[in-house]
Symmetry: C2
Subunit: 262 residues, 2 copies
């Protein structure tokens, strides 16, 4: 099942019907970016605009495989953007609260000024492919994710000590579009896995994705890093570059850092 | 009038009454961080929790001096956090749509791991104080903002070419609290003023502030930068450090880059 099919929504009066499909999870909990993308499809439809440009999510409860509904509400329709709020629910369980601005995105064109370059990566075949067969979550069967070998030590129980992951990403059998970028922004292992801290889990409170343009077909280059673990919280910042070398998305999530057991 | 007074709210049934006070504006439009802080006070009251920890804003229309109302809706009350949505309105004009998580924040304590240090700044008295008397917006009469001399050339019509501002910030006559950090995250000149681009205005679509802890009393050190101007959009990332050298807030806003006239 493609990502497009796995995030499809059907209009049903004032809300949309959809389903959390099997396999887009880590240990039974649906990936946050997957839930955001699914919700964004309903919001985009309600807005009558093709793409999310800025999407915020507050995660309230874990999503499990099964039917869900999306309840969008158009907040304001402007000349170029439409702002939409939405709730994603499983029955009466409130899973995610979303808000975003929607637009018809062009491929990234016109002047570009960037003070950062895409991460340098060895060719995909020289990177570590994350697969369920090698012990990665089932989600890794849905995407083709290749980690930079320098960041892959955590998979052998040897975290690098730097909360950083770099790598290639594409989907199996389809190109990544603006909605796919939202999944891409949440599909790498949590940076904290490389942090040499006694933390195996850092639940996300809030995530914001900015889609800066539609990606060209091909591999995406991705970089996720954490600079501050402080006050019981950590951020994870993501950058996604397309095959033409242009930045197509940025993301930031704020996660709780559980207090280590003493 | 202190910041606390200028963002005070009064409960009135299912909503809150407040006022956009004179002087918290740039060219007649109320500062976005000021509007967010004002909204957050009503949301915090509705949540029964002291502080915002993650606050998203979508800016829909400019705010002018005069009465406003805040309409909060508690989305979910958890054991530690309460999630609240809110609309900020002037009559029937919808100014800002907000969503945030509220908590009782401690001063930043416990383990801290940071891969970045506060910006190095000359002493405040050797920095450029932005004041209305010297041509800065009236907002600069409300805060004490001292720009790093290396970033201050734009004020003489000599942008540095780097979309970066560093400097000190404090309020006149009161310490900056968690709400003040939200204003602080939006009170420096737009980074694009130093970018050597024919752009004098970049309206913010969306802004997210993460409050990582309550600041210690004293000067804040601030850093705002833009790395990507692409696809007709730019981000502006902020970091705010307290007098003890701890990161207390991060912010990111997404702004439209108007197409230069040709």
């Amino acid at each position: 099942m493609t990502f497009a099919d796995a995030t499809a929504v059907t209009e049903n009066g004032d809300h949309y019907l959809s389903e959390i499909h099997d396999g887009w999870d880590v240990a039974g909990n649906a990936n946050g970016g997957y839930l955001m993308a699914l919700g964004a499809r309903a919001m985009s439809s309600a807005a009558g605009r093709d793409h999310p440009v800025a999407l915020n999510a507050h995660f309230l409860a874990p999503g499990r495989t099964g039917p869900v509904t999306v309840h969008p509400r158009v907040v304001r329709e402007g000349g170029r953007f439409t702002t939409v709020s939405a709730s994603l629910r499983a029955g009466d369980r409130h899973l995610v609260e979303l808000r975003g601005r929607f637009v018809s995105l062009e491929r990234v064109a016109g002047p570009v000024r960037a003070a950062a370059t895409p991460p340098e990566l060895p060719p995909p075949e020289d990177c570590l492919q994350m697969t369920p067969e090698r012990g990665s979550p089932s989600l890794m069967g849905k995407v083709d994710l290749r980690l930079h070998p320098e960041d892959a030590g955590f998979a052998r129980g040897e975290p690098t000590g730097r909360p950083l992951f770099r790598g290639w990403l594409r989907f199996h059998g389809e190109e990544v579009d603006a909605f796919g970028l939202i999944l891409a922004a949440d599909v790498f292992p949590p940076t904290v896995f490389n942090a040499n801290l006694p933390i195996a889990w850092a639940p996300t409170l809030e995530m914001t994705a900015h889609v800066r343009g539609q990606p060209e077909p091909g591999w995406l280059r991705c970089r996720f890093s954490t600079r501050f673990i402080t006050g019981g919280l950590m951020e994870e910042d993501g950058e996604i570059w397309d095959a033409s070398g242009r930045l197509v998305a940025q993301s930031r999530q704020l996660a709780l850092v559980p207090r280590p057991r003493t």
